[in-house]
């Protein structure tokens, strides 16, 4: 039976090789938009390919691929990003599509896993041969997947990867579609602190070990040190930490004027509850993520939310190109209340807006041309006007929010603010 087994394996291998070759030929035949992938030496093949594809592709939709964390750890923001892409596609298609062609989304679930996400983008580009790709949620998945897009020459506009490591790898195909990189998230808060009659004399930093929030924390520490505030407690905790009582008791003992939390969501709730238990009442409190998720944050903390600061890239009521239209379409498609629409929806919608304006300005879906156009242009989006530097860092600024009453209000910058900030904050 041994010979039978070997022969069977050989047959399977041959079949796989043949399938792969067939797939490659198909790839060349279907993608006339990515010049970088074409064999320029074989003119006859090229002409034949173009003749075939111009007939078939131009009548078909523009296919845009993405791999999102629809299950697993990041399933909630991942699902919100999917909704954002779908709202954008719905509005675009209703208005005639891009370059006269409808937009079709191919969205895969990477289960919040880096390896799966990488494999998904490989598949989208080489097997499904999508025309364009857009990014997943968070720096954790953007960093490895952007390498895949770069390898195949695809533009990679992404909604939620703003950590320093996203931009320091020499890639030029990434475009982060938020107002500013993650490590600049706290700048509006720093500016607000510097505008106070008296700077907090002492502060504590309690942060999760996450590349995004660590970047933000480094920025805050550098600025506050420069301004003369003293860091009295600096703690990094593991991502799966749920109990903050020991940390809170230490912070309460030192009683700094300001607490800065590098949080993702659950840990912002855990920290605030632990500070309440420990009897710590700071003059000011800033958390990276948590306060910007209005529904769950209020549900978990009640009145303890009062006066808490966070940065946000978007608000349903703030001015912004197509913002009202996006909010209305979201509510039509997914229900709920405008105040509870996750920020990730708007960030994914922004990705679509940026890509659409680049495609329409250049009149092509050729990725090389689009990458150049994305570096050069300024784009009108729901989060304001966006432009990008040579590594795809956006050139804008976040907004500062503060919880006041039953919802949060935008308190900075002045031209986008709903109201003035309260300092010191009430007790929680």
């Amino acid at each position: 039976m041994k010979w039978f087994k070997s022969t069977a394996i050989l047959f399977v291998l041959i079949a796989l090789v043949l399938t792969a070759c067939g797939g490659g030929g198909n790839a060349a035949g279907n993608n006339n938009n990515d010049m970088g992938n074409m064999n320029m030496n074989d003119e006859a093949t090229e002409e034949a390919t173009e003749a075939t594809t111009e007939e078939t592709v131009d009548e078909g939709p523009i296919v845009i691929g993405a791999s999102l964390p629809l299950t697993g750890k990041f399933s909630e923001p991942g699902t919100a990003a999917k909704q954002g892409y779908e709202v954008w596609a719905s509005i675009v298609n209703e208005n005639g599509g891009m370059l006269g062609r409808q937009v079709e989304l191919v969205i895969l679930d990477n289960a919040s896993d880096q390896d799966t996400a990488v494999a998904d983008y490989e598949k989208l580009i080489t097997v499904d041969e999508v025309d364009l790709v857009v990014g997943p949620f968070s720096s954790f998945l953007v960093i490895p997947t952007s390498e895949v897009a770069a390898r195949y020459g695809y533009a990679f506009v992404e909604p939620a990867g703003g950590a320093p490591d996203v931009f320091n790898r020499g890639l030029t195909n990434i475009f982060f579609a938020q107002p500013a990189p993650g490590d600049e998230q706290a700048i509006p808060f720093i500016n607000y602190l510097l505008s106070l009659p008296e700077l907090p004399a002492t502060y504590a930093v309690v942060t999760q070990d996450d590349p995004f929030v660590l970047g933000v924390m480094d920025g805050i520490k550098a600025e506050l040190e420069k301004a003369g505030s003293e860091l009295v407690f600096d703690e990094i905790y593991a991502p799966d930490t749920t109990d903050f009582s020991s940390i809170a008791i230490q912070v309460a003992d030192l009683n700094p004027d300001l607490i800065v939390g590098g949080t993702v969501f659950e840990d912002s709730v855990g920290q605030i509850r632990a500070y309440q238990d420990a009897g710590y009442q700071p003059k000011g409190a800033f958390f990276t993520t948590g306060p910007s998720l209005p529904g769950p944050f209020k549900e978990a903390l009640g009145d303890a939310t009062e006066g808490v600061f966070a940065a946000i890239s978007w608000s349903p009521t703030a001015p912004g190109y197509q913002n009202a239209e996006m909010v209305a379409r979201y509510l039509e498609m997914f229900g709920g209340e405008a105040g509870n629409i996750p920020e990730d929806v708007a960030n994914a919608f922004t990705v679509g807006q940026v890509l659409q304006q680049a495609v329409e300005a250049t009149g092509t879906i050729d990725n090389t041309t689009l990458i150049d156009a994305l570096h050069a242009g300024t784009f009108n989006t729901v989060v304001g006007n966006l432009s990008f530097d040579e590594v795809g860092r956006p050139q804008g600024s976040f907004m500062l929010l503060q919880w006041q009453g039953d919802s949060f209000k935008i308190v900075a910058p002045a031209d986008r603010a709903d109201t003035e900030a309260v300092w010191p904050k009430p007790e929680w």
């Binding site: 299950t71 697993g72 750890k73 990041f74 399933s75 909630e76 699902t79 070990d209 703690e235 990094i236 905790y237 593991a238 799966d240 930490t241 749920t242 109990d243 009582s245 020991s246 940390i247 008791i249 230490q250 003992d253 969501f265 659950e266 709730v269 855990g270 509850r273 309440q276 238990d277 420990a278 009897g279 998720l293 769950p296 549900e299 978990a300 903390l301 009640g302 303890a304």
Partner: protein
């Protein structure tokens, strides 16, 4: 490594002790199930989170306090435990390894179901007494004791005493203990071992229903939280001695205090290492755990 003030150290140790009580309640069912069935119930963490979700749901929808909602969650978990043991676990009882796989499958299934029902946002129950503390002094040290954790330790003690009395004085309890000591001998003496196993699994899950209610009041959770908690509970029952209820209680208190104190003496990142160091050393010098008994093979 730095040494904090005495005030911080005592406060942290006392809160850690209270937290240990809650850990004890969470781990009690796991050790009981192992004692009787020799199966490690990997789904224990997922069932803990599921119970916490029942409390959360009843509180959010109807305003029912988690201490009251156990009236609903305990019977649900008890009946589910009996059915699951009777119709699924008992079919693979000849191979404990397979039993572990089956409970692992249950954990994954529950995670999926909970994820689709409640999404991945961290949830917790916020009652009127959530942030209440009792202020007291211990010598020169001012203490702030969270009411929820005191209630947690109290509930753990009550539940474990009731469990202990049931095991000690009721006929079913005697049969459970006999099955723990020697399954074959118990069977020969007329104990319906299959029934006892089903009841034990049900009782084990009922304790987790109580643990889940307390959990929902203290910590945030989502469908994926069970992974970290099952590893914590397993560590507790291994340190205490697999199958020993008093051992699990003692080990849980040790874990609560060690975790909390080492978080302030070192960092919270390194604190789990200290507990595992204690666990390794205990296993080297006392492989059966703190209060476990040696099992003779053959």
């Amino acid at each position: 490594m730095h040494f904090p003030s005495m005030n911080v150290l005592v406060q942290v140790a006392v809160v850690g002790f209270l937290t240990g009580g809650v850990y004890a309640l969470m781990a009690a069912g796991l050790t009981l199930i192992f004692g009787v069935m020799r199966v490690i119930n990997i789904a224990h963490g997922a069932l803990l989170i599921f119970s916490a979700y029942i409390s959360y749901w009843l509180f959010t929808l109807y305003g029912i306090d988690p201490f009251v909602s156990v009236v609903v969650s305990i019977p649900i978990l008890f009946i589910f435990g009996i059915i699951f043991q009777r119709y699924v676990l008992s079919r693979v009882e000849s191979d404990p390894g397979l039993g572990v796989l089956v409970t692992f499958a249950l954990a994954l299934t529950l995670e999926g179901v909970m994820g689709s029902l409640w999404e991945s946002t961290g949830r917790s129950v916020r009652t009127a007494y959530t942030s209440e503390v009792i202020k007291t002094t211990l010598g020169a040290v001012n203490l702030r004791l969270p009411v929820v954790r005191i209630a947690g330790l109290g509930a753990a003690v009550v539940a474990l005493v009731v469990l202990f009395l049931l095991l000690k004085y009721s006929n079913t309890g005697r049969a459970i203990r006999a099955t723990i000591q020697n399954r074959n001998a118990a069977q020969l003496m007329g104990v319906n071992v299959n029934r006892i196993q089903a009841v034990t699994f049900g009782v084990g899950l009922a304790t987790i229903a109580m643990g889940g209610a307390l959990f929902s009041l203290i910590w945030s959770f989502n469908s994926g939280s069970h992974e970290e908690w099952i590893s914590k509970m397993l560590s507790i029952i291994v340190l205490g001695g697999m199958g020993s209820l008093p051992g699990a209680f003692l080990a849980a208190l040790i874990m609560g205090v060690v975790e909390a104190v080492s978080a302030v003496v070192m960092t919270s990142y390194l604190s789990p290492i200290v507990f595992y160091l204690i666990l390794f050393l205990t296993l080297i010098f006392r492989p059966q755990g703190l209060m476990g008994v040696k099992i003779r093979k053959g």
